[in-house]
Amino acid sequence: MTLLLSVFEQGMIYSIMALGIYITYKILDFPDLTVDGSFPMGAAIAAAMISRDMNPVLALLTACVAGAAAGICTGVIHVKFKVRDLLAGIIMMTALYTVHLCIAGKANLPIYGKSTIFENGPVDALFAGSLRPFKTVVIIFLVTMILKYLLDWYLSTKSGFILRAVGDNDTIVTSMGVDKGTVKIVGLAISNALVTMSGCLFAQQQRFYDASMGPGTMVIGLASVIIGMSLLRKVSFIRLTSSVVIGSIIYKGCVAVAIKLGMPSAFLKLITAVLFLAILIVSMERSAKAKPAAQSAGGNGSGNPDGDSDAKVVE
């Protein structure tokens, strides 16, 4: 039970980060490594502010702004200075390491006993008695859903459509009289804002910041996106953003099972990498089988040419 709860808690916290990666990797077609720096930056912001008894919601908003700023930097490096996408991300990832270390002040900053989004007066009063164990998971669920629906809404706006268009065929963005560089920068800003907020929530749930929590973020996010997409591709009524969230929970479940089966937790990154490889191979085989049915990124899951069905519905 506790294991299941913690899978859901962490799965949903990571899913916010996975939504960010969904924007860059799937929509923008931009492999953005900035996330390995912006995720721990969110954690550092949470730890630094909360250890000074500041409002945990304010910490989340600060993380959002800081993440957007980091995304804008990556975007400007790529668009204005014409640095390749991968390199622009690596540059920012490296720079952010120092940034989050400075924000936190040291390489490890615990925040035990401080009030967080999950642990504060009003919330504790609301979840009294037997509801107590579900406190964290309910709050995370609410936050995740709010952010998911905000993203869904954004992707249905004109600005969101242009964002989807720029990853698809940037010539058309130019023909519409819009600067494609600006659109990419906006996309990176939104993506990194989500990732940083995810890091901020992660630190609040785990009650510490650690400088080494960054590396691997990208891989976890990618794995979640790919699991969600390939498993739920044929379930046309599920929005892609929802499948990313579900994918992230499934991924966390897999990792939890691996550890439960006796893998030492020091092997976590290795498990992550191997699991990701396995997922990649499986999903590639699946998509090869499913013919080149042009992947539909339709936000309303509209265009799904129904093919042969070996779709597993996971709920």
């Binding site: 004109k158 459509f161 065929n169 009289g177 049915a293």
Partner: protein, 257 residues
């Protein structure tokens, strides 16, 4: 009015592969003209369109619209008054988005892409009626990702998309080349109708001499970076496919093959 003045354009300047496409090229297109451009492969037709639209830099010269020098203007700014159908059918559409979504993006051209809802349900019937004029059955495929349409269907859709909003210039690069003869005929009729209705200045590159002769009120033949033939008004009306073909042979004999 559109003017190209003393254009010089090199590809791969300063390398062994340096090629000069234009050296002191001049062209003036009056408002409301419908210009057909013909010329052999590699004669610089697409390059000329790219220069007009600002897609590629030039080495010398200037591009003027209505007397204003727009040489330094960014491509996306220029595109606000230009509708363009590319030689490559994939360039004018978003493959992973469906027809309605593609049309909705095109329908917003000219205003800002802000936080309003992109798809306006009231417009969908209008999109459908525009597409049914093409007789390609696209009106029944409104929810299918455009990437799974055929090249010709995509090209026809790009034409509709690029002319959805008011525009000053229409740039067509072999926009019927990917179409079967019957559809090509339909698309040419539609193009002509759009040009007449919207009074839009049009430049149409084509390898189909019949269309070049039949449509438009001016005909230009490009060869080695020059307009070696430029027919207007009555003279163009009295010119047939054979005359153009004759000129083609003439230049290839000059070249010695």
């Amino acid at each position: 009015m559109l003017e190209l003045r003393n254009i010089q354009k090199f590809y791969n300047r300063g390398t062994v592969n340096e090629t000069c496409i234009f050296d002191d090229f001049n062209l003036r297109i009056e408002e409301g003209e419908f210009v057909s451009v013909v010329g052999s492969n590699g004669s610089g037709k697409t390059t000329m369109l790219n220069i007009i639209c600002g897609s590629i830099p030039i080495d010398r010269g200037s591009v003027m619209i209505d007397g204003n020098d727009i040489t330094g203007q960014r491509e996306y700014v220029r595109n606000r008054i230009i509708g363009r159908v590319y030689q490559n059918p994939s360039s004018g559409v978003c493959p992973s988005m469906n027809i309605i979504e593609n049309m909705a993006i095109a329908d917003n051209k000219g205003s800002s892409y802000g936080l309003g809802r992109c798809i306006n349900k009231q417009r969908i019937e209008y999109y459908r009626s525009l597409l049914s004029d093409l007789n390609l059955g696209l009106e029944d495929k409104m929810h299918i990702p455009v990437g799974s349409l055929s090249g010709g269907q995509r090209q026809a859709l790009s034409l509709v998309m690029s002319t959805l909003k008011p525009l000053q210039f229409l740039i067509l690069d072999e926009h019927t080349a990917a179409l079967d003869p019957k559809t090509a005929e339909v698309i040419m009729e539609l193009t002509d109708k759009i040009v007449r209705e919207k009074h839009v200045t049009t430049i149409m590159v084509t390898h189909n001499l019949k269309y070049a002769v039949e449509y438009g009120n001016r005909l230009i033949m490009m060869h080695e970076g020059h307009a070696i033939m430029d027919l207007n008004g009555e003279v163009k009306k009295n010119t047939g496919v054979d005359d153009i073909l004759g000129k083609f042979y003439e230049i290839s004999i000059e070249r010695g093959n």
